[in-house]
């Protein structure tokens, strides 16, 4: 792909995770050199992008040296020595974790988040912590207490959100891959807007332990990567049962990397469902054109197009902003300034709560806490939260009915390309509609991936591929075939 914000050819930072691992295996690259290359790019470009909230350069160099030693000792692994970064929602022992909020000012967690722990065990090298919307509440990264990350394709535009820093960092080659979280599209939407691959796994596939909770029944961690194969490698490293997360699934993890490696270029026999509701009013015509072209590419590869309907998806945004805010109102109740984080002292307990939370939380977070508190209040509980949970079941039933008739569902990830910073901050509803195509999948709990499908007006467009529960291998396979037949950037680079 041309015109992108990437590292120049020859810079090891331009390599995919798999490409870098191969070079390290071949002995033409060390983790130390690769880590230095990323740190140099961070130093040069992050001041403009604001993708990183914390850069752990010294730790990264030490971890890289350790990875090189492990490799010299004969160890190998797909992520050994590969530098990555974490959305600042994952706890990191000894490294501040802000969740993009002033509320967690000065908070240094005692424990590592489980997905992070697994990546470290695989030998991946942590470069730092990435910018995000405050407590993952936002679709533009503009609710971050530390200022928005910027879109590498156009610094005047948003990288999307809430994993905006993660998408920007991957797109600008400031890390080989990143870990984000997706509650209503927070991995897929910024991936689409920044032209990278973003995968939200099935709810329960990846442990949520150590993820600062936004909406517990929706939150799921997943990779943002330079290509589909990298996304599969990362998923393989982080997926699997965690007895310390009661909602994590105790079921075997398939070999996603192998599914991608075996993908080939043929989708013969595969049925792709195209939901009418995802191509309705509100979809930018240029985005529509790019996605339609991508669907035709999939058909050209042998897939059969099936017209489907997800009739309750029109209620998804409304349901989401009741369910997610209700859960968030409880999840964020712990930030009271008594045990950790920001505290505004006052002799009166209630004044202390009010001042701590009033000063610690940003506007969007407050809006959602109020909304969620209201949705659960006596007298409104059933009309709002109760009804939302009932419609949520219908949304999932829509997916089940559709996925009985097709193997994957495809459509746009976002209705528009990256929007200008400030464009939607005054209009929360317009901001919420940024996630209109991603939210329903979180409510169902099913996996989805965004893969770049060309440009519209010089900005990336994402093709969303949604699958059955635990259907990540199929989703990844379709994405990989698409990536190959479309001859996109990742194929050029690998």
């Amino acid at each position: 792909m041309t015109g992108g914000p990437h590292a120049p050819p020859g810079d090891p930072a331009a390599l995919t995770a798999a490409g870098a691992a191969r070079a390290m295996r071949d002995g033409t690259l060390t983790s130390a050199a690769l880590t230095d290359a990323y740190l140099a790019r961070i130093a040069a470009h992050d001041p403009h992008l604001n993708a990183y909230l914390t850069v752990t350069a010294d730790d990264a160099r030490a971890q890289a040296a350790e990875a090189d030693r492990r490799r010299a000792a004969g160890e190998d692994g797909p992520l050994l020595g590969v530098p990555f970064a974490l959305k600042d929602l994952f706890t990191t022992a000894g490294i501040r974790t802000t969740a993009g909020s002033r509320m967690l000012e000065g908070y240094v967690p005692p424990d590592d988040a489980e997905p992070y722990r697994r990546l470290r065990a695989a030998g991946a090298v942590l470069l730092g912590k990435l910018n995000m919307d405050e407590f993952a509440m936002g679709s533009s990264n503009e609710s971050s207490a530390f200022g928005p990350a910027r879109n590498p394709w156009d610094p005047g535009r948003s990288p999307g959100g809430s994993s905006g820093g993660a998408a920007a960092a991957v797109a600008a080659d400031l890390c080989a891959f990143a870990l984000g979280t997706d509650t209503g599209g927070s991995i897929r939407q910024p991936a689409a807007l920044c032209g990278v691959v973003g995968l939200k796994p099935t709810y329960g596939r990846v442990s949520r332990r150590g993820m600062v909770a936004f909406a517990s029944s929706l939150d799921q961690a997943g990779p943002l990567a330079k290509d589909v194969r990298d996304a599969a490698l990362v998923l393989d490293a982080i997926a699997g049962h965690d007895p310390a997360d009661a909602t994590s699934a105790d079921r075997p993890v398939p070999d996603h990397a192998a599914a991608v490696a075996a993908a080939g270029a043929d989708l013969g026999g595969l049925r792709i469902g195209v939901p009418a509701e995802y191509f309705a009013d509100g979809l930018d015509p240029a985005v529509r054109a790019a996605v339609e072209a991508a669907v035709m590419d999939l058909e050209a590869a042998g897939a059969r197009r099936v017209a489907i309907s997800l009739p309750h998806s029109v209620y998804a945004v409304a349901v989401y902003y009741l369910v997610a805010t209700a859960e968030a109102s409880a999840n964020l109740a712990r930030y009271d300034g008594l045990r950790y984080g920001r505290a505004v002292p006052d002799d009166d307990l209630w004044a202390r709560y009010a001042r701590t939370r009033g000063e610690g939380f940003g506007l969007e977070v407050k809006r959602r806490i109020v909304l969620g508190t209201f949705a659960l209040s006596a007298g409104y509980h059933d009309a709002y939260y109760g009804r939302a949970t009932r419609v949520r079941r219908r949304i999932r039933a829509d997916f089940d009915a559709a996925l009985a008739r097709c193997d994957v569902i495809v459509g746009p990830t976002s209705p528009t390309t990256a929007f200008r910073l400030g464009e939607r901050t005054g209009d929360p509803l317009a901001m919420y509609l940024s996630d209109i195509y991603t939210i329903a999948l979180n409510l169902a709990g099913y996996p989805g991936l965004s893969v770049p499908c060309g440009l519209a007006g010089g900005l990336p467009v994402g093709l969303q591929i949604m699958g059955r529960p635990w259907g990540e291998p199929t989703v990844l396979r379709v994405a990989r075939v698409y990536e190959r037949v479309a001859g996109l950037r990742a194929a050029e680079r690998a």
Binding site: T97, P110, D111, S216, A246, D336, S377
Partner: protein, 511 residues
């Protein structure tokens, strides 16, 4: 000023009481984390982790053993146990609540219905239960020197909350309910139910209405009563206070009150007043709690015979009096001990080595009533004096040892008084009764020839007493018998001693 209400006020109104009891389950670890559940033994804030401190990213994992204990409690109380249940979040802000919500159960409690038979002043009664649910305890606030500190050791300790219907009608009935509940929970081993340590805490809901009025009056809640005496006293106080209120034509305020032990009165409570909307919703960090039928069956099987059934059986099978059955079932260890004593060989025969005390008379069997009397009498007294209970001495005093002692007394080898003394040493040293008796020569002196010789000696040595006796002062007979007892170190059979003295007197008169 509220103390002096005319009794007529009380007579006009009926007290209606419902109780909510929080019971700490006996588990090694907390409800949702691996922290030790020994809050009281540990220095403040040494039993904490990210989960029970509510740190960002921490997730709860249910303690299966706590769920099992809660299920056993529900089964023992006759609740319907729901195989499909779930945890919910109860939201309010307070420093004792690290997450800003408490994980509890609301719309689908573990158990519903059920009840407890409670005797009040000798009359059998029944208290229906509304529900039983699992929840986590809050932290403890420690107020000292103008400061409030928070100890999170207790945060997350597993509790069950047991809620009654408004079936109780007097302070005594409420106290009897708490006592019966506490006894049952200890009996089935789900809780220490120790009120002093907070393992059992009672909230009381009470209201007054005119006798015959079907509608309930305005409810007043009294929180956190930590003794049965406090339950009784707080309710008695509230009954007087509310009756005075109503007699004056005033309305009783719907409010939460606290019990001021020192002042002996309830006072309006402030603090959590603006937090009445708890905004319950299903805990999204935990999947629904589904209890497989086979597992429920295991929990049912793990329950011991319940106290009421045990008492009934002791009465029916062993012919005990109901009051003795009640004493013997004061705890499960005692009841088990009693039946173990009956089950030993020694309960029906004296020590195998023991020589039969009299010609032709085999050792007398020790019937259940006499074992019961030994346990509820001398043994309880000895334990009480030593600050011990049956469970604690079972190793030193195995059932067979007590059985042998009871048989020695029953067959006349030693007197009851000697038996009591021997029992004390058996508890203290673990010795067998026979060994102590033999070592100290404590066997009853009832050899007729010996006694005859001793009695003759006493009669010969006390001519004045003999003369008095002959002069009609029958009291001197007691003096002479006392002399025989003294000479035998109290090991003489009192009847035999009496007989020997009378015969010696007759002989000396005739000679």
């Amino acid at each position: 000023m509220q103390a002096a209400h005319p009794p007529s006020d009380l007579d006009a109104f009926e007290l209606v009481v419902g109780l909510e009891t929080h019971v700490q389950l006996v588990t090694a670890s907390k409800m949702f984390c691996a922290c030790a559940a020994d809050a009281d033994l540990a220095a403040p804030n040494t039993r904490t982790c990210p989960v029970c401190l509510g740190l960002p990213g921490a997730l709860p994992v249910p303690n299966a053993h706590a769920v099992a204990l809660a299920v056993r409690a529900a089964l023992a109380l006759g609740c319907t146990v729901h195989a499909h249940t779930r945890f919910e979040r109860k939201s309010y802000h307070y420093p004792d609540l690290p997450k800003g919500y408490q994980i509890s159960q609301y719309t689908r409690p573990l158990g519903t219905g059920g009840g407890l038979d409670v005797d009040v002043e000798g009359r059998a009664g029944h208290v229906r239960l509304e529900r039983l649910h699992i929840e986590e305890d809050t932290a403890r606030l420690v107020h000292a020197a103008g400061e409030t500190r928070v100890d999170f050791n207790r945060a997350g300790i597993p509790l069950v909350e047991i809620v009654t219907r408004p079936d109780l009608r007097s302070p005594d009935a409420a106290a009897a309910y708490v006592e019966t509940l506490r006894h049952l929970l200890r009996w089935i081993g789900v809780s220490t139910a120790a009120m002093a340590s907070g393992a059992l805490r009672v909230d009381v809901n009470c209201s007054l209405r005119r006798f015959g009025d079907p509608a309930l009056g305005t409810k007043v809640e009294i929180k956190n009563l930590n003794s049965i005496a406090a339950v009784r006293a707080a309710l008695a106080y509230e009954r007087r206070r509310q009756a005075a209120c109503l007699a004056r034509g005033e309305a009783v305020a719907h409010e939460t009150r606290g019990w001021d032990e020192a002042a002996g009165r309830t006072t309006p409570q402030r603090g959590k007043e603006h937090a009445h909307d708890y905004r319950y919703f299903p805990e999204p960090d935990l999947p629904p709690l589904v209890l497989p039928e086979a597992w429920l069956t295991e929990q049912r099987a793990a329950l011991p015979e319940l106290p009421a059934a045990r008492r009934g059986r002791l009465v029916a099978a062993h012919g005990l009096r109901p009051e003795d059955a009640r004493l013997l079932t004061r705890d499960r260890a005692t009841a088990d001990y009693f039946e173990a004593v009956l089950a030993t060989d020694g309960a029906t025969r004296a020590d195998p080595e023991a020589t039969p005390p009299g010609p032709g008379a085999g050792p007398a069997p020790a019937p259940a009533t006499s074992v019961a009397a030994w346990i509820t009498g001398p043994l309880f007294a000895a334990l009480y004096a030593r600050g011990l209970d049956v469970a604690a001495v079972r190793n030193h005093l195995p059932p067979a040892h007590l059985a042998a002692l009871v048989a020695l007394v029953a067959s006349g080898v030693v007197t009851a008084n000697v038996g009591k003394r021997v029992l004390g040493e058996m508890i203290d040293t673990g010795s067998r009764a026979r060994d102590i008796v033999d070592r100290d020569g404590l066997a009853q002196v009832d050899d007729a020839a010996d006694l005859r010789r001793i009695a003759e000696g006493v009669v010969a040595a006390n001519p004045k007493a003999v003369a008095d006796y002959r002069a009609g002062k029958t009291a001197s007979l007691g003096f002479l018998i006392g002399g025989v007892m003294k000479a035998t170190h109290a090991q003489a059979n009192p009847d035999a001693a009496r007989r020997a003295v009378v015969e010696a007197l007759e002989r000396s008169a005739g000679g």
